[in-house]
Symmetry: C2
Subunit: 247 residues, 2 copies
Amino acid sequence: MQSPHSCNAEAALPGSVAPRYAGDLMKTTTPDTLISPADLLERLDWRYAVKQFDPTRRIDESTWSALEESLRLSPSSGGLQPWKFVVVADPTVREKLVSAAFGQTQVRDASHLVVFTAKKDFGAADVDAHIRNVAAVKGVPVESLAGLRGMLMGGIVGAKDSAGREAWAARQTYLALGVLIASAALLGVDAAPMEGFVPDQFDTILGLKELGLTATVVCALGYRSETDPYALAPKVRFGYDQVFLHV
Amino acid sequence: MQSPHSCNAEAALPGSVAPRYAGDLMKTTTPDTLISPADLLERLDWRYAVKQFDPTRRIDESTWSALEESLRLSPSSGGLQPWKFVVVADPTVREKLVSAAFGQTQVRDASHLVVFTAKKDFGAADVDAHIRNVAAVKGVPVESLAGLRGMLMGGIVGAKDSAGREAWAARQTYLALGVLIASAALLGVDAAPMEGFVPDQFDTILGLKELGLTATVVCALGYRSETDPYALAPKVRFGYDQVFLHV
């Protein structure tokens, strides 16, 4: 976690305001799409970790597209996005993953399945890919970003050993998972975040090793089955004073 | 990450449907507070990692209360909530934290500051605290949850060494950070997630060591300054094909 340099958890960089990255929406300065605090909490309370998905219900294309975009837009340390999101649709592969997930049927029955993966041995080549992207988006020469590159190399790549960098990348994928879970709840899509799987088996089944990736966490998404008994279970959280400290 | 037992990333347990935990909202089965995919993306695109907060603008009480509740409602592996969220209001402490955060002024100027902390050496006592809470919420005897306790002890506590458990707990705090960042964007609150600080110094300044906690990541929240040049910078993300794999 420790960084020798000042390093904001998302790259927000100086430079001329260039055309937006293709695919990004316009940034608005006057938000007119806000929701109320009460509505937000109703959505977050509505969600739960689904045990039984309705295998007949599919997430429609525009909703799914927004959920994918919520992942792409997720912040990450240094803006480095040390991840790939693997969307598994192939039923045969899904079935194999069930076996590598202790038989949990959400992996098979959910409308969509995302396997979060972190880059292993994140290094200079990854930083350079990001720097090239920054240069392209901002319309500035790569050379002008030498200071940023040095900060990211020193603050993240050079400050951690290989295991530390993998752990750092894995943490970023959980941040993206949090964005996805909240986004899904807002759109009325059910989700089941899952750690109960064997990463090494997932890596093999999905061919991740050859890509320098490793599975960190899984999220099945779709719609709860009407017969899922967990849908009506009370949410179990510690009380406010047990999780908040005020200084 | 590897768990020898099937273990969903949030505890959703069988048992009789008992009264909701005090403070929870009613769970609705017919969501009427959904937002559109386009509105969600507008909110996520609006957000950015703030560099300069407006020190004169405060988050109002009901909005802040909802943001705290979004943290409390965040899912976690096994539902174990291996965290505490430290909300730092004291200006003197904030000033000390600026020094331990490489001078980053968001730590001082933001309306609110949350230091995410993970439990160190998460163990049987922590599982038991959760089990007692489950029993209380569900109105069942602790003894009836022996199976759940065994699964959590075997799948998480027993499956990892001390460093592995701390890393696991730290990842959960990033999930909660993701939920908070998305929630803030939906409510029109700006945020600056930050890894650029010295955890050991934060732990000392906030008295976390005595509590068995360690700082993992920080989020400053409030409202962007009108003069923050980063507010108008284009968002830098890899293209869709660079972060998604389809299987």
